[in-house]
Amino acid sequence: MSSALLIVQTLNGLQLGILLFLIAAGLTLVFGVMDFINLAHGVQYMIGAYLIAMFSAWTGSFWAGLALTLPVALAVGLLLEVTIFRRLYGRSHLDQVLATFGLILFLNQLVKTIWGAAPLSVPMPDVLSGSVRLMDGLLYPVYRIALIGLGLTTALLLYVLINKTRVGMLVRAGASNAPMVSALGVDIGRLFMIVFGFGAMLAGFAGAMVAPILSVEPGMGDNLLILTFVVIVIGGIGSIRGAFIAALLVGLIDTLGRAFGPHLLRLMLDAASANQAGRSLAPMLIYILMAAVLFFRPSGLFPVKR
């Protein structure tokens, strides 16, 4: 267990956490403000990745592709909100689960129909390719560092937006008590639409940003969606701050657990059983964390006051 490896894995964990945060931010607001279970949020992330694959191939530039991806991702989110989701806000959680589950089936298949089942790859922008030397014998890809920086910047902007602007104030108020906000003369339907579209765009942004380092394929959002749920439940539904802290926690624990779990267990067990136990425990760690958090704090770490 060298320190170089520790640094690399910590950075990887941080990067996963940032990615999770970008997706979780929109989801936790939709969850918190509208009490709406959106299983199709992971699909927005996938759509972002596919859009940038298409647009960067068209324009020949990652950045031009990104500039086209964001408004289209926003438009897709708004389209879904207007046609389907807004009819589901007042419904039971079960109807929401059914509708958004159907939507996952549809959109995953649609993506397969349009772009094919084979994974696509997105070329990395030239400026950010290559590696940077962090210390002796330790090279780390520039792109991943840029991802972390970009994610942190987005988090900061989001913090300002939520805490310092009028729209942000309304969103926070909506998360605490939506009917009251509505009674005070705010067009809650429009607020919901803005929150939803913005959340969809953030998820699409996350998908676009990781497209160069992942393979873009149908269903790529499905498993990430579950991680995102874990994040927002640990953080407390509706809380951006909670989502941020929980996302970093989940990203780091998952990555470090998988990398070092067997090593740590070797201190107590013999090598073979430590390997076996480590391999089985590592993917379960974040779920154990979530169960523990819910056991002691049934509304997450940072519950929104109601």
Partner: protein
């Protein structure tokens, strides 16, 4: 006596509705019992396999409907119990125990135990947090199964054959297996119906409607809900035993979160709370999936929007739709 009279009248269906439902369910089971004979005319093995699979999922759907429809506990990790049941078969069989009369108790015990342990944590939360905590436990078990390299890990394990009954390979014939599954489905339906109509079931329904009041009159919601979860878990583990036997194969794929979602979809599609709706939901979901996939490779483009429309329609699933139609007919029949 006085306690019985105090029960809410709303949970009692009018006599005609009850008679209608009984005759419908009876008709359904008769049709299912005759199916193997009809199937001889067509592609027998294919049809029988398809419907057997649907009936197994119907058992799982009924178990989910018990906690979902009567306890309002939205479990998003119910496929875990399918996995527990099938792994009980797989693990026992790989150690040479192929006796189904041993496998079933082990599966049911394991399912009940998992429900007890996870329910004790999940039931501390409510609403969305409950849904998500069941999801977390389902995922935990999924990853645990993936890491079980002694039993195939990610690839799963192939069973040597169907389980034996008292050492005899009675389940080997597809038709016999079909009738065993059908009989178990019937037993599950009747037993679960009895449970929902019992005092226990009424308390459960009361807790769904208003936990605070039930608590005030001396019923601890946690205990009743936990018991319901254990019953549901044990029942679904039985479905897992059957599923492993039908496919001859056990793998973590049985307990993905998508599978849990499908179980939810079956129950909602059929109409929650009615139990027979769960049977109809499982049958129609799996048959629809099959028929659509025969028509086009892109069948999910049709199934997806269909589910969205069912949800948007808000009819309360097929069972709810049937009730609405019947009420309209009855009203038209009256002057």
């Amino acid at each position: 006596m006085s306690q019985q009279q105090a029960l809410p009248a709303t949970t009692l269906a009018p006599a005609s509705a009850a008679a209608w439902r009984v005759s419908f369910v009876a008709l359904l089971f008769v049709a299912l019992a005759l199916l193997p004979i009809a199937a001889k005319l067509g592609a027998e093995g294919y049809i029988l396999n398809l419907v057997t699979r649907a009936l197994i999922f119907a058992i799982a759907a009924i178990s989910l409907d018990l906690i979902l429809g009567h306890g309002a506990l939205v479990s998003f990790g119910h496929a875990a119990y399918l996995g527990i049941g099938s792994y009980a078969v797989g693990i026992l069989a790989s150690h040479g125990v192929e006796e189904v009369l041993l496998q079933i108790p082990v599966a049911i015990g394991a399912g009940a135990l998992f429900a007890l342990a996870t329910g004790a944590v999940s039931l501390r939360t409510s609403g969305v947090y409950y849904i998500m905590s069941t999801l977390a436990f389902g995922q935990m078990l999924y990853f645990f199964a993936v890491s079980l390299s002694a039993y195939g890990g990610d690839d799963g394990l192939t069973l040597p054959g169907r389980s034996t009954i008292l050492g005899m390979p009675l389940l080997k014939a597809d038709t016999t297996f079909y009738y065993v599954v059908l009989a178990l489905l019937g037993a599950t339906y009747v037993l679960t119906l009895r449970i929902t109509r019992s005092r226990f079931g009424r308390v459960l329904n009361g807790i769904r409607e208003n936990p605070a009041r039930m608590k005030a009159i001396g019923f601890e919601p946690f205990t009743y809900q936990l018991a319901a979860c254990i019953i549901a878990g044990a029942t679904c583990a039985l479905a897992g035993v059957l599923l492993a036997n039908q496919t001859g194969f056990v793998s973590p794929a049985y307990m993905t979160w998508q599978r849990s979602g499908e179980l939810l979809v079956m129950v909602i599609l059929g109409g929650i709370g009615s139990l027979w709706g769960a049977i109809i939901g499982a049958l129609s979901f799996l048959l629809l999936e099959e028929v659509l996939s025969l028509i086009t490779e892109q069948w999910k483009l049709i199934l997806g929007p269909f589910l969205v429309l069912v949800a948007l329609g808000g009819y309360g699933g097929i069972a709810g739709l049937a009730d609405t139609l019947r009420n309209k007919l009855v009203r038209r029949g009256q002057p």
